[in-house]
Symmetry: C2
Subunit: 369 residues, 2 copies
Amino acid sequence: VKGPDGPGLPGEVLVVGTGLIGTSVGMALTSEGSTVRLSDASPGSAALAADLGAGRVRRDGDPDPRLVVVAVPPDAVAGVVAAQLVAFPGAVVTDVASVKSAPLAALRAVDGMTGSALARYVGGHPMAGRESSGPAGGRTDLFVGRPWVLAPHAGSSDDAVRAVRDLALEVGAVPVTRDPEAHDAAVALVSHVPQVVSSLLAARLLDAHDSSVELAGQGLRDMTRIAASDPGMWSEIVVANRDAVVPLLEAYRDDLAALIDDLASGAGRAAVARTVETGRLGVGRVPGKHGGAAALYAVVGVLVPDEPGLLARLLTDIGDAGINLEDLRLEHSLDQPVGSAHVSVRVGERERLEAVLLAQGWRLTAADD
Amino acid sequence: VKGPDGPGLPGEVLVVGTGLIGTSVGMALTSEGSTVRLSDASPGSAALAADLGAGRVRRDGDPDPRLVVVAVPPDAVAGVVAAQLVAFPGAVVTDVASVKSAPLAALRAVDGMTGSALARYVGGHPMAGRESSGPAGGRTDLFVGRPWVLAPHAGSSDDAVRAVRDLALEVGAVPVTRDPEAHDAAVALVSHVPQVVSSLLAARLLDAHDSSVELAGQGLRDMTRIAASDPGMWSEIVVANRDAVVPLLEAYRDDLAALIDDLASGAGRAAVARTVETGRLGVGRVPGKHGGAAALYAVVGVLVPDEPGLLARLLTDIGDAGINLEDLRLEHSLDQPVGSAHVSVRVGERERLEAVLLAQGWRLTAADD
């Protein structure tokens, strides 16, 4: 739909590792006018990425790249980054692993690694594409609007940081800077621990009676959605970030154990109330729409029979009234051909929204929050 | 919008306790043509419910009710049910508490309770209206399409069960029968334990750095949504169902503790992979749309700039192509005026949906699952 809006990044970009992320980087850069070369331990994978529009497979005699994007699994990052720093003494090298401290420590420990070589390395983490998948899953738009964390170390040069920021911007991502430790602490909190918590909760369903699981509602569905993730990818991520993950899991376990003790001893009421209240305060810190502070929206439930086009009509009715939709969730009913749409609007718009919907013949229902 | 489609329930229905649930029961029954009388320990609350259309406040000399709906907090249920069974020897009595075994045991232990009185009691649990709130939160449509669990005990009469089933149907709910223990095990698994797990996770955010919380994505938002619930209500529910909740929490804690040990000892990779894999299998048991088995839908991501009416246009384009939308999620971007809509369709419709959207000028993006 839209063509390149500039000449792309200067020089050649080499993408090493053509899985989902590497291929998507290549596709996005190519579509914006950059010259991309590809390499992968598997020549077939690199060729497939090239066929998908991610660039051309690198050949002997190609000019040295100005920027190398290492998109290999976390435990391979340090070795591959070191090799690229040596092979291309003029290049900036970055990676895309979802953990930053362990690869940096391993890189520093590589035999013969010098400060001037390290200065050309800046770690990165595009927070997109959680599914593990090969080049066929690559998408030009994978990074659009997503955070791309730049994690420079103390010795990273300004030029190198600038080059990686330009890369993030070029593919439509939002660059965000964190030092490697802060990055790892952040993803442990907002991603790795929630993954473990969700998987453990979903694991409890495995041996449950059908008659129990059948009563599941939206709450359980939300709590277990990310439990459908890939075991191989997650075991590598969690292990690579264990230094940040384990203390959080331990604190979680201690809170849980204390709550169980209180429940078993009969002092549970105050303990549960305190836990839920602390959680309420905690969830208030999760950023809402557009990264802003969590705003208090009013949620209005609307019954939507399961017929094609009805949801579109609902949103059209809302839009025609000039009311801005802040969020929308669909909730499905047990055994009934009707669902409800939970429409979030600014608190001050609630009454007008309800009046407009009732006037158009919609039936309102309760919304959970 | 729609009027009563029948004469309503036979005789008079007495609603005891005019909080959110009691008021909503009264409103729904009244709107369907039943005669509803109201009482509450707070006369002001009963009067407000009456003003909201939930029925008329019960007066001395009113005929005895045929059905009494006790909508008081869990720990008050047994006493109020017993009093109603005595006061109205011809009435069926039910309640709406989200825990069933403890109130039944307390009721059986009430001085002078007889088998013939108990035969007229059938426990109930409408699975709707999770927010704690007074009569002002009442809604005619609160129960439409939601499960309403009937939890008869061994001595409940068939007539009593039938009367409570008719009540559920009359307010638009879907009656589901479970014995009290099975009900409590089910809600511990699908509701109470997820609530505790979510609250404990959200509690970890309270003291976290802004720079960590700012990187939260949809996964964490899903995992902490129900953590915004009411502490007072939940402490009562969890304590009343502690016999079912504690063993599940203990099993969860043991799994977590084993995982932490493995991570700390260096044997973490296999342990995490096993945990995530077990979770994947568990989440596969969560019912999908309309209570059916979890189906595999294809999810297509579509960029939707934050302008009024664009989401409606997207859904209209999908509907015009004759493609049925199975689910829809909105994902918001960090600091960018663009979000993406994750559109779920049957797997076989994926290619056609993508072609239709691209032809209409939409930009596709990655969807997480």
